[in-house]
């Protein structure tokens, strides 16, 4: 049993009524549909609800509604977060309805979908919310029965007092519990007593999804709503010159066409306000197709800019000027610049021992170069958002990963106090980081303000793919020094990117080597980038784990044993103090995948590659098997070993891992966005390749390390390493090393 203070998120427990605001302003059914989960079979909706705290309300019949605070992007937090509350509340999961909470930073801890951090950062708050409510129910019953609260127990939604034989459902005491003072501290369950957490529960929106219910932002609608689209420059490095809308304004269903300035000149942009195109043209009309047609006919002139400057708000209140260079960039130029920059020495980020000396003395030096292109996130649901902006208040509804930050940006741009901007989150049709950058919320707010009407902004796939935000373009040179006995004596990584480097200087194999050097460089660009699933790691792992594979081969050692030996050194006698990984847990997943894949016993005749990586506080090791069919490599089987602490919802965690594996293979094989004169050369799925059914592995196995560590991330960690497992298996199958993504091209030639 763990005692926790309720004070740190005490505001969550004040029993103010939950914001029902959306319902007042907007069509009730659409919002209810977007936010409420499937109703479990046979469940009767109560006539009256009692708010016990910000996370849950209990009906008079004992049915419980749990509010899921964080945005749902497909990581399944709308199921797993309420599971954690329900566990401590000690209620039957079959009696639970889930509702998406609106943005409320006063009540909830961290309403952000990013960094694989939803569960990790709310684990204790969610447990405390359930445990406090459970205590308040017990206290209400104890007072009514005139017995000490310590003698009262609960069992799946039922309150008991053994001594008197009294018994009541949660519903009976819901009203009284809501009036019980919030306890100063509460007891949390022992992990061994968990019966919801750790047992697979189905997606609470599953039925809604398979029956086509309007759950997503793009499905949102109110009476009198207009539809808007934006037109942005065709190329990075260009800005709006002029436009002629006279023909378009008379087209059927078109209401207005006007220019839009996304940020005020003196506004210090937050991290999530990244976007290259801040002067746009908006087309507003009655229906999507009419607006799409009008947009095609619109005559807009763009012009290149020499240079742009804006103020960026840093952490801790510092503001700095950011300069965006002019120029129309091309992939060919990018490659030339990278090759030139990588040949120079760069900024030293970490140095252990004397790597220069070790390289000088080396009997053999192995040097390999790895590259990866820009990528477009491409979530299946294109960017969109709804806004209804009135004289002095605004309601925004839609898919956003960073609502608490974007609400501030919107409030600032509208000139409203923050509390006048209400944000409701719908289910998101994917995001992968793209929806951290919510410029579309500002855009739709401005359009609604101008039109004095509710508006839904819709991006076409082309708008989305050509407007940024992208995963940066990366380059890395890895070098290793071997002595006359073929022992590894020094390791050097020089990593760079456009416009930023992917270097994690303190990750493995740093800490395992006496002589280690990590350098970093970057080249500025006007192409806007942002976090994409496992930022930086999504290149690091691919490059580093491929290099280690080649190194192990060169040294004549087994690639798993090679890593384990390095990790043993890092564990027993680590070099340096800032190593950001736990070598024992890292080794743990490698050992588990070795066992599960039959690496030592069943590798004969198989083309297999191994890889392991640590990011977002979790550890994943993978073995990937390729079979050759009609002379073509086909990914047959992928074994995963995952250490992400306590697994809240096992089957959903397996699903997430399977998806990450498929995504990682797709990224490494096919993903590439190229530029010519500032224009993205791919604008839809005909040119931009995503992985498809026939290219997915035949079988994916997932094993979790069992431990009692509080949950860490899972949405990102299995994604990066599989790219290297693939490269290493491809080498076994084809004899070719894969250094350059996308692997279907495997070249960095200019």
């Amino acid at each position: 049993m763990t005692l926790v203070k309720t004070t740190y998120n005490r505001r969550s427990f004040f029993k103010t009524s939950l914001a029902a605001g959306g319902g007042l302003l907007i069509g009730f059914n659409w919002l209810a549909s977007a936010c409420t989960s499937d109703t479990p079979k046979g469940l009767v909706i109560p006539d009256e609800w009692f708010d016990v705290n910000a996370y849950l309300k209990i009906g008079e019949n004992g049915v419980v509604t749990i509010l899921s605070p964080n945005p749902e992007i497909g990581q399944n937090v709308k199921t797993s977060m309420p599971m954690i509350v329900a566990e401590e509340l000690n209620v039957d999961w079959k009696n639970v309805i889930v509702e998406q909470a609106p943005l409320n930073t006063k009540k909830y801890t961290r309403q952000l979908a990013g960094g694989s951090d939803s569960i990790r950062t709310t684990w204790t708050a969610l447990r405390t919310a359930g445990a406090s409510a459970c205590y308040m129910l017990k206290k209400a019953a104890a007072d009514a029965w005139s017995v000490p609260v310590e003698e009262v127990t609960t069992e799946l939604g039922v309150i008991h007092h053994k001594g008197s034989g009294k018994k009541a459902g949660y519903g009976e005491f819901a009203s009284a519990a809501a009036a019980v003072p919030v306890p100063e501290e509460v007891e949390l369950k022992d992990l061994k007593d968990f019966r919801i957490v750790g047992n697979s529960q189905k997606n609470v929106d599953g039925l809604g999804i398979v029956t086509g219910k309007p759950l997503f932002g793009l499905d949102y609608k109110v009476d009198g709503m207009l539809t808007a689209m934006i037109v942005h420059p065709p190329a990075f490095g260009m800005t709006l010159k002029s436009f002629d809308a006279s023909d378009v304004k008379t087209m059927p269903g078109i209401k207005d066409v006007f220019a839009l300035k996304v940020y005020n000149d003196d506004y210090a942009r937050q991290w999530c306000d990244t976007s290259s195109f801040t002067e746009l043209v908006a087309v507003v009309g009655n229906s999507t197709w009419e607006v799409m047609m009008a947009k095609l006919m619109l005559n807009v002139e763009w012009e290149p800019f020499a240079e742009q400057k804006y103020a960026a708000a840093g952490w801790g209140g510092n503001t700095q000027d950011v300069t965006v260079p002019g120029g129309l960039e091309s992939t060919t130029e990018h490659k030339k610049k990278m090759i030139a920059e990588a040949a120079k020495s760069a900024r030293v980020v970490r140095k252990d021992g004397n790597p220069e000396e070790a390289f000088k003395k080396a009997a053999k030096i192995i040097e390999r170069t790895y590259t990866a292109p820009f990528l477009a996130h491409s979530p299946m649901e294109p960017m969109n958002f709804f806004a209804d902006v009135k004289e002095d208040s605004a309601v925004l509804v839609g898919p956003i990963q960073s609502p608490e930050y974007m609400a501030k940006t919107v409030a600032d741009r509208l000139g409203f106090p923050l509390e006048k901007v209400e944000v409701q989150m719908t289910r998101m049709g994917g995001g992968f980081g793209r929806r951290l950058y919510g410029h579309f919320m500002v855009e739709v707010a401005l359009i609604s303000q101008k039109m004095k009407a509710p508006v839904k902004l819709v991006y076409s796939r082309e708008d989305e793919m050509t407007a940024g935000i992208y995963r940066p373009m990366y380059h890395a040179i890895y070098r290793a020094a071997l002595d006359a006995d073929n022992k590894l004596t020094a390791f050097h990584v020089k990593m760079g990117g456009i416009p930023e480097s992917a270097l994690h200087a303190n990750r493995f194999p740093a800490g395992a080597l006496d002589n280690y050097l990590a350098e970093s460089w970057s080249i500025e660009s006007n192409i806007s980038v942002g976090a994409m699933r496992a930022p930086a790691s999504n290149f690091n792992a691919a490059a580093e784990q491929s290099f280690l594979d080649e190194l192990a081969e060169e040294m004549g050692v087994d690639p798993i044993q090679f890593r384990l030996d390095l990790l043993k050194r890092a564990q027993e006698n680590p070099v340096g103090e800032n190593n950001d990984y736990d070598a024992a847990r890292y080794a743990g997943v490698l050992e588990l995948v070795r066992e599960k894949s039959g690496w030592d016993t069943d590798s004969q005749g198989k083309h297999r590659g191994v890889s392991a990586y640590f990011c977002h506080r979790s550890y994943v090791a993978q073995v990937l098997d390729i079979v050759m069919e009609n002379g073509e490599p086909k990914v047959d089987h992928v074994y995963n070993a995952v250490d992400c602490g306590i697994v809240v919802n096992p089957d959903a965690a397996v699903n997430m891992t399977e998806g990450s594996v498929v995504d990682g293979i797709g990224t490494a094989m096919y993903g590439e966005l190229t530029f010519n004169n500032g224009e993205p050369e791919q604008s839809n799925f005909d040119g931009y390749r995503l992985i498809r059914h026939a290219e997915a592995p035949r079988k994916i196995d997932v094993a979790f390390v069992e431990n009692k560590i509080h949950p860490t991330g899972l949405g990102e960690p299995p994604y990066p390493p599989v790219m290297a497992a693939l490269a290493n298996a491809l080498y076994k199958a084809t004899g070719t090393r894969y250094y350059h993504q996308p692997f279907v091209k495997n070249t960095f030639e200019v």
Binding site: D205, V210, G212, E381, G429, E658, F685, L690, A696
Partner: protein
Amino acid sequence: MTIFNLKINKKEYQVDVDPSTPVLWVLRDHLDLMGTKFGCGMAQCGACTIHLDGKAVRSCITFVDSVGDKEITTIEGLSENGEHPVQKAWLEHDVPQCGYCQSGQIMSAVALLNENPNPSDEEIETAMNGNICRCGTYTRIKAAIKTAVNS
């Protein structure tokens, strides 16, 4: 604008729209049938898959004036409450992650099984290859289709 009489999910609908309007936007904007999703607008991703007389088509490039008497089925028309064997199989395997592509995936799977009640792995892959799942739930989709075959 032109008036079109459409048969959708065994009901009659009348819409007054431009003849060039894709069925996707007729369903979503004019009839509030939001289960059919917009993904790419050029028949590359399959999120907008519906049935025309039982055959899977991409509604984003199927113009309303080309439908004529053909019967349209959307995800909402498969069953009242998820009882269709393919929907049930999807639930059993808890397939979705974000879920956005899944109504298109299901419509493609249903059309496949209507034509070929016992498809091979290769036939499943071929029939489903036009439906992108960005979350990568392909292995579960295939497993769910096999479950539906056996039900």
